[in-house]
Amino acid sequence: MKVLLKVFEAVRPTFEQGKLKAFKPLYEAMENFFFAPSTTTTTAPHVRDPLDVKRLMSMVIIALLPSIAASFYFFGLRMVAMIIVSYAAGGAVEVIFAIVRKENINEGFLVTGMLFPLILPPALPLWMVGLGVAFGVFVGKELFGGTGRNLFNPALVGRCFLSLAYPKTMSASWLEPSRDLAGRLLQYVDASSVDALSSATPLALAKQGEFASLSHQLFGSVSGSAGETSAIAIILGGVFLLLTRVANWRTVVGILGSFALLGGVLHYAHPEKVGPVLWHLCAGGLLFGAFFMATDPVSSPISNAGKWCYGIMIGCVTVLIRGFTGYVEGVTFAILLGNIFAPILDEMVIAVRIRRLRSEG
């Protein structure tokens, strides 16, 4: 560590006054990655709490570890390539913005760059991974001023963009998960190996009346987006997030509760369109979205009542999209709609509260 510190001390002048002044943000990001910064926060969000933004993000990364491990296990070394491309492409956008606007590089990208490959089909061409994450970071975050000021979840904006721009590739790039005991830990499998390419996710098969077994879904050996297949891994990470209070339990309970309730009612009314509740809860990206995407503190409502409404809205819209539209999966759209409604929900909660205070005199 001391050697590293000396290296940083030695090159600091070149970045602060010298020739490489333009690349100062890059230098600072590298330095902060290894050492705690000696300065105070200069940009929002400011939180008076030992849990600062950086550690908040680290918590999310830790919570993601089980899902990442599961995605390695089931889909092989291709995940490494996807994560590297995601970090490289999104990081490039981030660095360019930081250099042009002369600001620091935000910590938030560590999470976005990791979340993004986990919500993509594992056999997606790598250039699409790069394009999607660059679009998500650019439009979803940097245009609004970076971490803490974005209106939408950047990873979801990127995924939504990809699924609307390349619907065919997005719905045909699924990999059949490995069923060996050793998994695919040392194999690189992509769309070129035809035998591994799978046709459909459990949700798509369910539209034809074919249901994958619940135990496979819990364990994760089903086709689907890289990080969303293993329900156990997600719940493990999600409970960690809830216990550390990084994710708000109101949002999660709102989503899953309303999903189960409306799903149950619709299952009895239209059994051919909406499958059994427990099966649907574990299928597709619902759990991953509920624990990791919807709970993003920046793009969700601030008030507690707002969080309840937000969760309930996402859950209900997911059921409706899954059951009654042309799409088989609706979590992305549902959470993005939730982000869009979030400010209005907060505003309504505040208006109700003001009215109540007035009537109390």
């Binding site: 245009l143 939504c160 539209t325 759209f333």
Partner: protein, 196 residues
Amino acid sequence: MTETSAWVIFIAAIFTNNILLTNFLGMCSFIACSGQIRTSIGLGTAVIFVMTMTTMLNYVIYHFVLVPFGLVHLQFIVFIAVIAAFVQLVEMFVERFSPRLYFALGIFLPLITVNCAILGASLFMIIRNYSFIQSVGFGLGAGIGWAVAIVMLAGLRQKMRYSNVPQPFQGVAISMVVTGVLAMAFMGFAGMVSIQ
């Protein structure tokens, strides 16, 4: 198309075929009047009311005046005249009978005359051959869809006060970007119910 129920058309006009987010009609007042939630609600309510009434009026005029007399080629002028006259009438009525509502709506009522979404709704009704009941459903749905979109944008723009938007993107540009993301999210409803 006549067999689709008015209820389905109503839902479709709000979600899947939102007149603003899929046809991008009425953008001018959408961008201009979405700075504050309060004003956006006022404008939204006015649009709902005027859109429903003018589609009904235009339906009657089109099918009982223009078609029998072979004056269909005049439909644009006639529709615009009807909308303008109706808005003026409503303004006078509201001013006379409910001054509070009149002041709440303020400048937005006359502004609606030039809102292309209103004319668009009437024209869609003709192109898609709606019956009278369907037209009512469509007009009401399209109005509510427009109002929902503008209120959402107003909320987001209010939240954006805490954002640090790059100089070239400030103002209208970032509102357009946000509208694009809104439209992307609404694409999720595609296929739920469909009209042309």
